[in-house]
């Protein structure tokens, strides 16, 4: 239905007075990619998205969409469309008028714009609600309407600002799957801002992890998870232990950390500690270990393995891992 184009950010910066929110980032997002901008709050991900959308002027650098430099174009001329956090649906307009809004602004006749809006509402399975007002819809339904409204201009890239944060956890997982499916069907790029690493891992073709206005690491979710470049990445992406061995920092996945009772001979690296917490998680048991000098380790032990040799809170244990599976951090 829509065409798509690659997006390139070149040395893009955003400064608010003395504060630098986005610090000269370079990023290439190939056409048709589901990209997640991930990071803690204040890392510059939302400013980046708003600059791509054209709602924030870039202080420096360029935004190139396809082969057009869109840095100074207004939002509607860029070929992007934005889905706002908590959706920003027009409360006085019916669902169909909300979706048709952009076409109305272009002077498209009512019958034509309503026809097109209805098609998009069918795409998001909301055609039956065309006459309702936004206040009469649930959160998930509002989100679908917001999606349809953003898509009516046939954007090359859809920008989503924390689209799932207003939903309850159950709905969040369901809408997550729908977003991914929609992106696959439309074939256009989605750029999705989130602070949830789980969300980013589940959705993204390309994860861009930001911190302090810079890109900390980018790559496929597997790359980022298995080869975290820095301690920040390893900690933010979760599921990792950061251990210091002989002055070097290593990331060891929590499910690859073995726990042994003291006294058993171990070949390989080891850290002694005390069990502080045992949490049953279903398929695995999460054991927290205090290893002294403020080092806290987490091991995810498969249920059967834990049952064979259970660890109690307060017991002394020795943590160990296969050095070949530890990842050195920069």
């Amino acid at each position: 239905m829509a065409t798509t184009a690659a997006l390139e950010l070149v040395h893009l910066s955003k400064r608010y007075g003395a504060v630098t929110a986005v610090d000269a980032i370079d990023l290439k997002i190939p056409a048709g990619t589901y990209c997640c901008l991930l990071g803690p709050s204040g890392c510059g991900k939302t400013s980046t998205l708003r600059m791509i959308a054209g709602h924030e002027a870039a202080s420096d650098g360029d935004i190139v969409l396809g082969n057009v430099n869109v840095t100074d174009l207004p939002p509607a001329k860029r070929g992007t469309a934005m889905m706002f956090q908590s959706y920003a649906l027009f409360p006085h307009l019916s669902v169909i008028d909300n979706v048709a809004f952009a076409l109305k602004m272009r002077g498209v006749a009512k019958a034509e714009r309503h026809g097109k809006a209805l098609k998009l509402l069918e795409l998001v399975a909301m055609a039956d609600y065309a006459g309702r007002l936004p206040a009469q819809l649930s959160g998930g339904q509002q989100q679908r309407v917001a999606l349809a409204r953003a898509l009516i201009t046939e954007p090359q890239i859809l920008l989503l600002d924390e689209p799932l944060s207003a939903l309850d956890p159950f709905l969040r997982v369901r809408m997550r799957a729908e977003l991914k499916k929609l992106q696959r069907e439309l074939g256009i790029s989605f750029i999705h801002v989130t602070h949830g690493q789980e969300e980013a891992m589940a959705l993204a073709d390309l994860v861009v992890l930001m911190n302090g206005g810079r890109i900390e690491q980018q790559g496929s979710p597997r790359e980022v998870f298995n080869q975290p470049r820095t301690e920040f990445v390893a900690r933010f992406i979760g599921g990792h232990n950061v251990v210091s061995v002989a002055g070097a920092k290593l990331a060891v996945r929590a499910d690859r950390l073995g726990l042994r009772r003291p006294g058993i001979e171990i070949a390989g690296p080891m850290i002694a500690g005390t069990v502080t917490e045992v949490e049953y998680q279903g398929t695995f048991v999460q054991v927290s270990v205090a290893a002294g000098q403020g080092q806290d380790l987490v091991a995810q032990v498969a249920e059967a393995e834990f049952d064979a040799a259970p660890h109690a809170v307060g017991a002394s244990v020795v943590a160990t891992w296969d050095p070949a599976l530890a990842h050195p951090l920069g």
Partner: protein, 299 residues
């Protein structure tokens, strides 16, 4: 079980009645009851010095005396109402335009809360003195030898002083607009401040120009405030006789003025009949305005 739940509901009802009671009492005593008296008196007869409690429509028929006979010429009462409606329309239009602009500026251009409050307070300056002083203050400004005329003459724009500046319809409208714009600013500002700023961004994202956003997003969402402000202004201006009297040099007939004249002549039933007519006309205007918007949603 059934009995206790019945009692519980009864006591909950009682509490709600008690809570609404004081306001209801004030409303009944000082609004409904006097209104009933006015309607009752409007159907009484009268002579030069007393009211006569017999049922008659004299108050009304005298008011409309000659209206049919003079057709197509308008009778006094219709002319007066037409004039009042014209003044009311002008004041309403001007206060709405100015009030909307001021509220828009306060809500969307002034970023800091402190400045919003400070500027809103400045809007209340006309209310810092009494109405009488305020009206007298116009005289040195607008009079024959007032500042405006002197300024225009010395600037060479006019040779003769402008006569229509004071004691004219212009002066009436000016004074009323000056006074009541604030009654528009407050409710419209109140509606506008509740508009989610992201809606304006969403409109911009959809390619709307500034005017399109104003027309398609801001005005529809500020409509409740515009209607409430309009109700304030229209009800006050329709019944006004002091400002119209003073600023019009006692030369302009208005609906409120008729009532005052009748009262001064001690013709209470005739005054009451005119009050009922005025109430009816105002009520019709408000009712048609209320159809535009669900005012209850705003409260």
């Amino acid at each position: 079980m059934a009995v206790t739940s019945f009692l519980k509901r009864r006591s909950a009802d009682l509490v709600s009645w008690l809570q609404a009671g004081p306001m209801m009492l004030v409303f009944v005593l000082f609004f409904l009851l006097p209104l009933a008296f006015v309607i009752m008196v409007s159907f009484w007869d009268y002579n030069e010095y007393e009211m006569i409690p017999t049922l008659t429509t004299r108050g009304y028929t005298e008011t409309f005396e000659g209206c049919i006979a003079q057709m197509p010429e308008l009778c006094t009462i219709l002319k007066t109402y037409l004039k009042t409606l014209k003044l009311c329309f002008l004041v309403w239009l001007l206060t709405l335009l100015i009030g909307f602009t001021v509220a828009y500026f306060l809500a969307f251009h002034v970023q800091s809360k402190t400045w919003q409050i400070a500027l809103s307070l400045i809007c209340t300056i006309p209310f810092w003195t009494s109405n009488v002083i305020r009206m007298i203050a116009w005289i040195p400004l607008l009079g024959r030898n007032g500042l405006v005329n002197q300024g225009l003459i010395s600037a060479g724009v006019i040779k003769q002083p402008l006569e229509w500046l004071l004691f004219s319809e212009f002066a009436v409208v000016l004074a009323l607009v000056h006074l009541f714009t604030f009654f528009m600013v407050v409710p419209i500002f109140n509606s506008m401040i509740r508009i989610d700023k992201r809606l304006i961004e969403a409109a911009y994202d959809a390619g709307a120009t500034g005017w399109q956003t104003l027309w398609n997003v801001i005005i529809p969402l500020a409509k409740p405030g515009m209607v409430i402000g309009s109700i304030f202004v229209i009800t006050i201006v329709m019944g006004d006789f002091v400002t119209i009297g003073v600023m019009g040099g006692q030369q302009i007939a208005a609906a409120g003025k008729i009532i005052e004249v009748r009262l001064n002549a001690l013709q209470f039933p005739a005054a009451a009949a005119n009050a009922v007519i005025l109430l009816g006309v105002t009520f019709l205007i408000i009712a048609s305005l209320s159809r535009l918007v669900d005012v209850r949603k705003e409260l």
